[in-house]
Symmetry: C2
Subunit: 317 residues, 2 copies
């Protein structure tokens, strides 16, 4: 069994390659960030779960990396006519997901159970698990006050200076059923190239998950989401800067050092090799940029190969 920790677009693209090169019979479980989840017009929206689900179901709008290919936005247009908030791009097909999920949640199903039903309806092979079934909201502290991460990112276009990040609900949250079990039972764990603060950082903030990563027998690799000092996608740089972190591949490795066995870093960051190795983490350099299908397959094969070959004595345990 292999488990991956995932945020949104970057993770989904990586996972799309991984599912195609998985060893025969190997089960993949994906633990997904739910800190971006929000209620909008009474609907429960799980942006990262949707991105990963749509991508693995081959439904995703490939150009954007989120939403459903060829979707229309007529409901959104009508919501705008009604004078409602429409900064969050809700496609019409996409709405069906939010409507069904919300309906299930309102009927007493947990987010995990709703996710399982959605994924089963789309014939998804990997098991998708929300990091937690409980309410958990990532808020960004700015000069305008605390705002929901999606408000910061989508509504405000990530233009506000980040003063801090608050994980609302992290103190009371517990990992969704199956999360700790998957980390415990896996032989390999991969931290996808996702935002280290608001995607992976969020997952790690759920009580019990970081401990489980430290204690598992699994070999753990992470793929750097930072190439040559900049994130491939998203506002990771602004968030890292806001928290006083150096925006570098090294800095991400340092955030994961207490559980990491192997760090996959881009060739372009070769200069940081020694600094990362000084964290007592093995490093493998490759081209980590995923331009298309071939890049995804190559990167996934590379990581699986490195993990299989990782010498037993280098494992963190």
């Amino acid at each position: 069994m292999i488990t991956a920790l995932a945020g949104g677009v970057g993770a989904a693209r990586f996972l799309q390659g991984l599912v195609q090169v998985l060893p025969e019979g190997e089960k993949l479980t994906v633990v997904v960030n739910t800190g971006d989840d929000m209620e909008l017009h009474g609907l429960h929206i799980s942006p990262d779960l949707d991105i990963v689900m749509y991508t693995l179901a081959d439904l995703v709008d490939k150009a954007k990396g989120w939403g459903i290919q060829g979707d229309s936005f007529n409901a959104l247009e009508m919501l705008r006519r009604y004078g409602l908030e429409t900064w969050f791009n809700l496609g019409d097909k996409d709405l069906a997901t939010h409507i069904w999920r919300s309906s299930l949640l309102n009927s007493g199903f947990t987010l995990s159970q709703a996710t399982t039903r959605l994924c089963r309806a789309l014939d998804l092979k990997p098991a998708l698990l929300p990091m937690t079934d409980e309410r958990f909201e990532t808020k960004i502290a700015t000069e305008l006050g605390l705002m929901h991460f999606q408000e910061y990112l989508v509504k405000r276009g990530a233009k506000d200076r980040v003063l801090g990040v608050v994980f609302e609900g992290a103190d009371r949250a517990s990992p969704a059923p199956g999360v700790l079990e998957a980390l415990q039972a896996s032989r390999l764990i991969i931290v996808c190239p996702s935002n280290p603060v608001v995607s992976i950082g969020t997952i790690l903030s759920v009580p019990g998950i970081r401990e489980a990563l430290k204690q598992t027998e699994a070999r753990i690799a992470a793929v750097s989401p930072i190439i040559a000092g900049a994130p491939v996608k998203g506002p990771a740089d602004k968030l890292m800067e806001g928290l006083g972190l150096e925006v570098s591949a090294y800095s991400v490795a340092a955030l994961y050092r207490d559980f990491l066995d192997l760090y996959i870093m881009d060739e372009r960051d070769r200069a940081q090799l020694e600094r990362v190795q000084a964290l007592k983490v093995q490093v493998a350099l490759t081209d980590t940029l995923m331009r298309g299908r071939e890049d995804k397959l190559r990167l996934a094969r590379f990581i699986l190969g490195c993990l299989e070959n990782l010498s037993a004595n280098s494992a963190h345990s």
Copy 2:
């Protein structure tokens, strides 16, 4: 002030004419059937309120008489892919209405308040009132058991033999705020050409409404929805037959006789004139079929003219 009692398509078409010939400064209140309301995928759908609202906002799909002109059905397609029930035609723009309404209801607003907000957002001049804010469901008794009216009509195509009609919630329902006041304060009341059983009959079943119609000083007219022994639209014939009622213009007048001053019947039903007059109801004959804009205007003008000229001593009071 004029008040109308309305069901769906037939009423909406009639009201479209009425609003254009209303005397200057005359306020129109429309009390709408909510017996067809239902929860679907966690959304509160009010078919008749929507039909009347879309029609008066000039948004309605004119060919069908319901839904929004030029709407797409992509969310529905995705719900189908998820394996959910999709027999009820939910357009994408239409969904925005259900989403906002449901969100308001879940936030504690009443159906009247939600309706007012929707109508205000669409700049509707007439005041739309649901007949009741409480849960009220029209069920059709068939050989397959009790089914929701929409299930009988849309899902099953009105093909099941009607054994009876049940107004679930009628015993506990009360008229929505403003309904009795409108009936009391109006000088004219018009019962639209709607299904006498599941549209007008539903409204009349809400405790207090029939009494208010009997007691008001307003002159009350009804337009027959039956022409030459058949409904212009919808399953009124099947429902009336199921209840052992004759399917005729006369039969509808008989259902309203205790509060009716004036009955507008189609020329084609002239043979029933004496029978209806025997109910002590004044009758006016005209072409009641609304083929287009001109027909609607003519019918509305005709009815207003007849009501204005109704001799005082013929009023039911």
